[in-house]
Symmetry: C2
Subunit: 430 residues, 2 copies
């Protein structure tokens, strides 16, 4: 290990076989934390080339169980680097299932300003995301899609490495991020992945060049692992859709599947479904894929599929026709614009922090989440507003949370006299 740390420290290239022994040795406890943290810092600063990164990720995959689906494929997943109001996975999974794509989706929880797919789904009464692997596999094959949380048996090296990175300032490294994402996805037995790399004020990557670099790294690493990866760089400079908050986002999901969803969420669901249809060879062109995806929605088939998934995972499918069955915040209040002008900018991370302050997100992984609270956004970037016109509706439970929530919101919106350039929804497709 010592000479390997030296090699990476000095910007050299590690031998793939040695990398396998390093990752395995660390997972087994033979390599101590203090050596791995020196190695991680050297990797953070010096980087890894594709061959190194492939070997590193493969070793992470091989540190645990690798799922194998026995049914007719294809098995694909979609993963987002996280944002505010990003509920795309919820409507996308049943749309894909209707296109004949199996979706064994392993998702995460919200942390900091970003929300999590699991928290959103768990706002549905009875919905379980902690299913055992055999149950997960059965639901994927029977219902076409199933969304659960990370299991301890898949890529255990990632859990141990992530915990160490989290305390040694080695999280924000593109190769380490890419290996963390793809190791878990590849271990879940999929053959292809659509990566939604978010960029902007509410994303992990604020600069386009970083997002582009991560997207390129993910595509290249996917190639090395034999996993087909399509990456889209999409905008996170404003809340995606109209809602940020767990139950509120489930309601919006149902609106999307009923054909009345907000344009940006609908556009991403259709684009992702179309790209994945081509990846899975169930459509010849993206345009054909987009048409087929639209049909799954307009026919009501994707909505019905969503209901079957909810039921299969123990949830109350009655929410589809009666959103009153979802948790509802007892109180609401308008957050108004203080002046006339154009909505020029949103600091989306601050809006996410407002949701956390409401109790709808987590500061620490062990925090509990209130499924009912959240924000309904009332303005889009570039929109003209009058003083007093609502920017958002705050759905809250406790009066005491409001001062911090409003503090975050006050600093989140920039309203000015000039019409701003509004960023495109999709920045790039790799």
């Amino acid at each position: 290990m010592y000479s390997d740390i030296e090699t990476k420290r000095d910007g050299g290239v590690l031998d793939p076989e040695r990398i396998g022994r390093i990752v395995q040795g660390y997972t087994d406890g033979k390599i101590p934390d203090y050596q791995m943290s020196a190695m991680l810092m050297a990797i953070f600063i010096r980087g890894m080339n594709t061959a190194e990164l492939t070997a590193w990720t493969r070793a992470m995959i091989n540190s645990g169980e690798v799922l194998c689906f026995s049914g007719q494929g294809p098995y694909l997943d979609k993963h987002s680097t996280g944002g505010v109001g990003d509920k795309v996975s919820l409507p996308l999974a049943p749309v894909l299932a209707e296109l004949g794509i199996h979706v064994p989706m392993i998702s995460g929880r919200g942390l900091g300003h970003t929300g999590g797919t699991l928290d959103k789904l768990e706002s549905i009464p009875g919905f379980r995301t902690d299913l055992e692997v055999p149950v997960f596999k059965r639901i994927v094959d029977e219902s076409g899609c199933c969304i659960i949380g990370q299991t301890a048996s898949l890529a255990p090296a990632d859990k141990k490495l992530y915990a160490l990175r989290d305390v040694t300032a080695t999280v924000a490294s593109i190769p380490l991020i890419a290996s963390s994402i793809l190791s878990k996805k590849a271990a879940a037995g999929i053959s292809g992945l659509l990566m939604d790399v978010k960029v902007g004020s509410g994303a992990f990557m604020r600069a386009f060049k970083d997002a582009r670099k991560l997207a390129e790294t993910l595509v290249a690493l996917g190639g090395g692992l034999g996993l087909r990866v399509k990456a889209l760089i999409t905008d996170m400079n404003q809340v995606l859709g109209r809602t940020a908050g767990n139950a509120l986002e489930v309601i919006e999901t149902i609106e999307v599947l009923k054909g009345s969803g907000p344009a940006d969420v609908v556009a991403l669901v259709e684009e992702f479904a179309a790209q994945m249809a081509v990846l899975a060879q169930v459509a010849e062109t993206v345009e054909e894929g987009r048409e087929k995806a639209r049909l799954t929605i307009s026919s009501g088939a994707a909505l019905a599929r969503f209901g079957r998934m909810v039921e299969a995972q123990g949830g109350d499918a009655g929410i589809i026709d009666d959103s009153g069955r979802l948790p509802q915040a007892p109180l609401s209040r308008v957050f108004p614009s203080r002046r006339d002008g154009f909505l020029q900018k949103e600091d989306c991370a601050r809006i996410g922090q407002a949701v956390v302050a409401l109790g709808g997100g987590r500061r620490r992984l062990e925090d509990k989440v209130d499924p009912a609270v959240g924000l309904v956004m009332k303005a889009r970037l570039g929109q003209r507003l009058s003083a007093g016109q609502p920017l958002a509706m705050i759905h809250y439970r406790n009066e005491e949370t409001l001062p911090e929530v409003e503090e975050w919101l006050k600093s989140a919106f920039v309203i000015g006299d000039e019409m701003p350039d509004v960023p495109p929804l999709i920045h790039d497709v790799l």
Copy 2:
């Protein structure tokens, strides 16, 4: 700590007050190894500026006891970065004491190819280097010089940091080396230090630019700490003097003090003594210092002073007139040149490894050292040799050690037809 690691990771500058808390927190066990190793790797790659390094070193000094001498000063020390055959400290200490400079010298043991002053002195029957601090201080004030090993009470942060650096490939960092050296020296209560930075095939620094960088860093750091540091960059491309091996080097020390030492050792003793005399303001010029130093040797005063130091430290001063009282290897054998030609190059590290293979050095810190074995060198760089002419005399105890010893020596000497350029003994004075 997390944000401090981030700062250094990204090449930023750490706040001096934060540095104090980091070093103290690590010494106290409040900061775990895995965070400190990430920090050390970030420092290794990104470096530290003089203000950061001064704060880091000061915190190391303050992690333990700081000695305070109550007698008439000045109190100075000399430190070498280590080499093969470097016995200069042994004759230098009594020469300095004769010049009126007190020398509280805290030295190290040999490790790997480099020898250690303590091991050399301990070949003198009865000589003790593990004296308690009060005894050490008394001998310095009474005998003018005393040479002991590192004590646990001085700069304990260094011991803990060094152990971590040793297993995380963060040893060879110029700021970390400089802080390790100067923290221990400053804690010993001296007001000035002569640093002998070795460069060449037997030195830690093989390239002149690295040696120069370390020397500059030491001088600047000394300035920050209020410690006058003079640095000389001296040659380690051949064994210093004629001997490499513990008792053999004591014998050579006595020769130097008797006026019959080899030219290179004598030159360094005189030059160092002269520079330190100027530093301590007991001479106005280096030339005056050199003259005074020569006089301490030609008068026999330095030899007598050496005897008093040996006695004060429990050793048998009878070795001065009877080297037969020192341990002697039972066997010896010539190592000959295999061809005619000029001695063009010595790989001094390999010669040091030959001494280790004889049992005269350490592979690991816990190894015991055989004081009797070693090499007597028979040729200098640039010398013309005939095939069969001795390059060295091997003084050994066990036949079984010889194959490895000869293997090292065979690969250590380059003999060729061209007269080589011989490097100067002193490369630079800072």
